[in-house]
Each structure stands twice: as structure tokens, then as C-alpha cells.
């Protein structure tokens, strides 16, 4: 079932890196510390990592090798994190050898899992979640280890652990900002922008005047950096969330307009002729045929707009806002060099944006199940 036919170079290099890990000191400053001098647990873990590397060299390694990888790579990762305080002043090559070995073995693990083609549906579903999860965890692991191990100043890039600590201690602030920016500005602006874009598209579809006049303008406006309108919106609608919602309305209106108009033309001639043979009136044809055929386009706009709305609301807050909001927090905390707070806000925005997009994508799957890209 596995595609790779050559031996896994990741496993081979991991073996070499593990040799470095046990022979070189893990710290660069002060008295040298060796990983094997840290007690029986450390020795056992290193031994297991060696065995895992050897077991996973063969491309068609057994399920046991995959399970060993899955287990010991993460035990090893946890072990490396426990070493971090000891190497905070400067990590030695022994430590980097361990990190590189773990990274290569994790790579080997993800490669192996990606190549699996399970016939069991539930198993395939699980794999679909597990692979990106492992990938993401190891990205965070490397971020943490590299930032702490090389002593990157927290102002430039805080480690994930510091960001997480900030998130857990500042939930009330983060919630207030999320409420202000996402639940008020983004949701209101998104709903108004998408709904009005949709309605104007239907009007434009019926009226040649609007179609000829408004659509070229729409295409032009979608090419403009609309965020430049934010200061004007603040002048018009005041400092509170309404002005941010207005920016979001402008940003989401035209993508929805242009996509819906394209979607309304998406039904094919024979499907429309069919409606004509039934002497269907305009609204029957619109609802039973043209809007149905337009749904994939409309969902496309909804997904594009979910991203645009979040960007628009956050950036608009840079131009004047009450003392709450995600954009406000980002711009003020970066000025106070509290970068962990900035990252915490970014994490919240990323999570909110992903959930928003994910819900839309799921809804799209349910509503346009018939589309060739979703058929089962």
C-alpha cells in the first residue's frame, strides 16, 4: 500500500542525528550536560528512538514500526521540551541533534501515514484529521524549540508556550475584543454586505441598465484596496463597531454581486428551455432553476467574504476605535512591545476565521451535495 520504494532517508539521517545527540553536550554555556547523564528515563527514551529509527528505515515498514514512530516520536518530543529550561541560555549540538532526529522521524511518520490508502471509511476519516494534526503539532514544537534554544528575543517572536500562557491569563480581554470585532462588526457587516450584494445581483440580472452600468463598476471596485475607505467610514459612522461593519459591508458587497451574477448565468440552455416548455414564470425559473445552479458561485463568494470580513474589521480598527477590539489591541500592544498579546489576538482571529470558513464549507457540502466536486 505504500508508494515509496526507496529506503527512508529521513530515518537514516535521524539515526545519524541521534548519534550526535548522545555524543555531544546539549548545552553551550556553563558545565556540559550530556543527555545520557540525565538518568534512566533519558537513556530508555534515546534507546527507543534508536530502535524506532532503525525499524522505520525500510520503505514498506510494518504497522508496528508506524505505531512505534507514532508513540516514541511524541514521547521524544515531550522529553525535548523538558530539556528546554536547561538549554535556555544556549543549546549545544547534542540538543540540536535530538531535535533534528525527532523532526526527521516525525517527517517519516507523516510521510508514512500520508501514503496509506485505507479501505475502511472511518479509518480514512481519522487519518484525514490525524495527519494535519501531527503536522501542526510538530510545527509548533519546532517553533518552541528553535525560539527558546537559540534565544530569539520574545519581542521578535515569542514561543508558543508564552502565547498560550497569555491566552489563558487574558481570556476576559480576548473575549471582549472578540465580541466587539467579530460578533458585532464582522457578523453584522458580513450579513448586510452579502445580503445586499445578493439582492442587487438579482436586480442587475433583471435590469440591463444595472447590468451594463453597475457590473463594470463592481469589477473595478473589487480591484481597489477598499480598506483605504476605513478612515472615511470612521468619520461617517463614528468610532464604534458600526464604522467597522461599514468597511466590511463595502468589502463583501462586490464579491457577492459579481459571483451571484455569474452564477445566475450558470444554468445551461437546455435546463432553461425546459422551464420555458412548462411556461414557468420568471420567479419560478429563478427559484427552481437559476438560484439552485448559482449556489456553488454564491458559496464561493460567502467563503471569500468570510476571510475579507475578518481582515476588514481588524484593519479598520487601526484607524480609530473605542478601547476594545482585536485590531485596537493588536495596534496598541505592539506599540507597548507586548508581542505575546498580539500573537494571542492573532491566534483568536485565526481560530475564529477557520471556524467561520469551516462552517461555510460544511454548509456548502450539504447544500450543493449534487455538484460534481462533492458527489459520492
Amino acid at each position: 500500500m505504500r508508494q515509496a520504494q526507496r529506503d527512508s532517508w529521513q530515518a537514516l539521517f535521524a539515526f545519524a542525528a541521534l548519534v550526535a545527540a548522545v555524543t555531544l553536550p546539549i548545552n553551550a554555556e556553563g558545565p556540559r550536560i550530556y543527555v545520557l547523564g540525565l538518568g534512566t528515563e533519558a537513556i530508555l527514551i534515546l534507546l527507543m528512538l534508536f530502535l524506532t529509527a532503525v525499524a522505520s528505515v525500510r520503505p514498506a515498514a510494518s504497522d508496528i514500526a508506524d505505531l512505534m514512530l507514532l508513540f516514541f516520536v511524541h514521547v521524544g518530543g515531550y522529553f525535548a521540551l523538558t530539556l528546554l529550561p536547561a538549554v535556555a541560555d544556549g543549546a549545544g549540538w547534542g540538543f540540536w541533534g535530538l531535535v533534528i532526529a525527532l523532526w526527521l522521524l516525525a517527517w517519516r511518520l507523516v510521510t508514512g501515514l500520508s501514503a496509506l490508502e485505507p479501505s475502511n471509511r472511518a479509518y480514512a476519516m481519522l487519518l484525514k484529521i490525524v495527519v494535519p494534526l501531527i503536522f501542526g503539532i510538530w510545527l509548533l514544537f519546532l517553533w518552541e524549540v528553535v525560539v527558546v534554544g537559540t534565544g530569539v528575543p520574545a519581542v521578535l517572536l515569542p514561543p508558543p508556550s508564552a502565547i498560550w500562557a497569555r491566552i489563558t491569563t487574558s481570556t476576559d480581554i480576548l473575549w471582549a475584543d472578540f465580541n466587539q470585532t467579530f460578533l458585532k462588526a464582522v457578523i453584522a457587516g458580513y450579513a448586510i454586505g452579502c445580503a445586499s450584494g445578493f439582492l442587487v445581483a438579482i436586480a442587475a440580472d433583471r435590469s440591463p441598465f444595472l447590468k451594463r452600468g453597475l457590473l463594470p463598476v463592481g469589477n473595478l471596485v473589487s480591484a481597489l484596496p477598499i480598506i483605504g475607505m476605513a478612515p472615511i467610514m470612521v468619520m461617517w459612522f463614528g468610532f464604534d463597531w458600526q464604522s467597522k461593519a461599514a468597511v466590511v459591508v463595502i468589502m463583501t458587497f462586490f464579491p457577492m454581486l459579481v459571483n451571484t451574477v455569474a452564477g445566475l448565468a450558470a444554468s445551461d440552455a437546455m435546463q432553461r428551455d425546459l422551464m420555458q416548455t412548462y411556461a414557468a414564470d420568471y420567479w419560478q425559473t429563478l427559484i427552481k432553476l437559476r438560484l439552485q445552479a448559482a449556489l456553488p458561485f454564491i458559496f464561493n463568494a460567502l467563503k471569500i467574504n468570510s476571510t475579507l470580513a475578518l481582515i476588514g474589521a481588524i484593519v479598520a480598527e487601526f484607524f480609530g476605535t473605542p478601547i476594545v477590539g482585536m485590531g485596537f489591541r493588536i495596534s496598541t500592544e505592539v506599540g507597548r512591545l507586548a508581542v505575546d498579546m498580539v500573537w494571542a489576538e492573532i491566534a483568536v482571529a485565526a481560530l475564529a476565521g477557520s471556524v467561520f470558513y469551516g462552517v461555510l464549507a460544511l454548509l456548502e457540502r450539504i447544500v450543493t451535495f449534487w455538484h460534481p466536486s462533492f458527489r459520492t
Binding site: M270, Q276, T277, Y278, K288, P372
Partner: protein, 279 residues
């Protein structure tokens, strides 16, 4: 040019049928010219045709002869540029608005977001029929085309032949007296096509509808029709009209009989003559 039929279909019709001919479609000196960038295209020229109630008329000819265009004029999907046409005694537009016909396209044109049952129910929803009536008609017509058990399937889960049968059920659900069919089996393989031809003939015999059927297959035209209209291209016109004397009840075996072959031969001759200036 034999333009008039003498065979009047043995009428099983209601007593209010007028004593003279019961003409469903009357086409008189009809012409249609499309204006294109390359100049005018004469799709139809001087078409004269009458179709009686209960007839099965096939329009046959090479591509570009206007057979589909003629069917679309009857259905009010195109408008003629000259001459006149009536359907059930009124203009095609009025006939369409009264839902006088069912139209079957070259492709099934089922809506992929509707199940088979709801596709068949589509025209009924548009006509504003009550739910109970819709349910009855959907069940009846799906049974008629042997698609029971597929009500809840989606079109893309069915084979091409089944999809086309569903589209026929959808046309029949309107319960029209007139059925317009535009190469409905053109995209199907020969075995499926034979099978559907047989089913269509049984259906026609059972329901006594008037059918106008566009095809480019000679065996199909001869097997199905009571009259065959042979058309020739550029400009599209009627070359010959052949009345078939084959019995109304036919099986596929009839295609081996001398009578069948004689009619097929005459159709082929007509097609060749209408085509002679080419190749």
C-alpha cells in the same frame, strides 16, 4: 412532395372529435432565417405539414436540415420568420402557455439537485398541482417507464438510459396530448435504444398521444412512425413524406420484414436525393 395523408388514425377518441380531420399541428409555408455574423442562415424554408391526432410523425434528415429547429418552432422555443403555424388551433405561444405539449430533449436535462421523483414533479409544481395529485402522477409515470424504486435516487446515480426514461416520465407527467421528442435516444447505445424504442411504441399505443419525433436514424424512424418526414439541408426543407402501412402493434422483429425494408429504402433514397449535391 406528398404532403397530405390519407390514413386517418383509427380513432378511439372522445365523441366530440369533429367529423373532419383532427389536426393538431398545422404548418403553412413556414420559414425561419437566423441572422448571424456570416450573413443569414436559412434554417427552414417553405415547410408545409399537418399532423393529425394520434399520429407518430418522425422528422428525419442529416444534421443542419432544420428538423430540431422545426420542433423548436412547434414548441415555441424559436419563432418563425415567415409563414404560419398553429398548434391545437392556436399559436405555439398560446399552446405552450396552456401546457399543450411535453418536450423531451436530446439530453435528459434532469436537475442534479432533485431526486428522480422530484424531477418528474417539477412541471407539476410549476403548474401548481396539489401535492396528492403530484404524488399520484409521479408514481404513475415512473411506473410507465419502469423506474419504480428509483424515486429517491439522484440523476447522476442513474445510467444514461434511465436518465432519459426519467425525462420521458417528466414530459408525460404533464399529461399532454402532444409529445415533442428531439433525438431523445441519440446519445444512447444501440441495445438501450432498441429497448426504449419498443417501450415508447407501447406507451404510444397505450396512451394514443400525438408524437413528433426528431431522429437521424432510419431504422428508428421507420420502426416508430406512422409517417416519416424526410428533410434536406441548406435550406432546410421537406423532401418527402412517407406514410407507413406497418401495423400499429410492432415488435423489433418487424425490422426484418420486406415491408419495413421497403419503407426504409424509400427513406434512404429520399435522404440521398436531398443530399446529392454533397460528396
Amino acid at each position: 412532395m406528398t404532403n397530405e395523408t390519407t390514413t386517418r388514425p383509427s380513432s378511439i377518441l372522445a365523441p366530440d372529435t369533429p367529423p373532419e380531420k383532427d389536426t393538431v399541428i398545422k404548418v403553412d409555408k413556414l420559414s425561419l432565417t437566423f441572422q448571424t455574423n456570416d450573413g443569414p442562415v436559412h434554417a427552414l424554408e417553405d415547410i408545409n405539414l399537418e399532423v393529425e391526432r394520434g399520429e407518430f410523425v418522425s422528422l428525419i434528415g442529416p444534421s443542419g436540415c432544420g428538423k430540431t429547429t422545426l420542433l423548436r418552432v412547434i414548441a415555441d422555443l424559436e419563432r418563425q420568420t415567415g409563414g404560419s403555424i398553429t398548434v391545437n388551433g392556436v399559436t405555439p405561444r398560446e399552446a405552450r402557455e396552456k401546457r399543450a405539449y411535453g418536450y423531451v430533449f436530446q439530453a435528459a436535462a434532469l436537475y442534479p439537485w432533485r431526486t428522480i421523483a422530484r424531477n418528474v414533479a417539477l412541471p407539476l409544481e410549476i403548474m401548481g398541482l396539489a401535492r396528492a395529485e403530484r404524488t399520484r402522477r409521479v408514481a404513475d409515470n415512473l411506473a410507465l417507464v419502469n423506474l419504480q424504486g428509483f424515486e429517491r435516487k439522484y440523476p447522476w446515480q442513474l445510467s444514461g438510459g434511465m436518465q432519459q426514461r426519467a425525462s420521458i416520465a417528466r414530459a408525460l407527467a404533464v399529461e399532454p396530448d402532444l409529445l415533442l421528442m428531439d433525438e431523445p435516444f441519440g446519445a444512447l447505445d444501440e441495445i438501450v435504444r432498441d429497448h426504449l424504442n419498443e417501450q415508447l411504441l407501447q406507451l404510444w399505443a397505450k396512451t394514443n398521444k400525438t408524437v413528433v419525433f426528431v431522429t437521424h436514424s432510419i431504422p428508428e424512424a421507420v420502426f416508430l412512425s406512422t409517417r416519416i418526414v424526410v428533410m434536406s439541408p441548406r435550406p432546410g426543407r421537406i423532401h418527402d413524406i412517407i406514410t407507413s402501412n406497418l401495423p400499429k402493434q410492432r415488435s423489433l422483429d418487424i425490422r426484418e420484414t420486406p415491408e419495413f425494408l421497403k419503407i426504409a429504402h424509400r427513406v434512404r433514397e429520399g435522404l440521398r436525393a436531398g443530399h446529392s449535391y454533397e460528396d
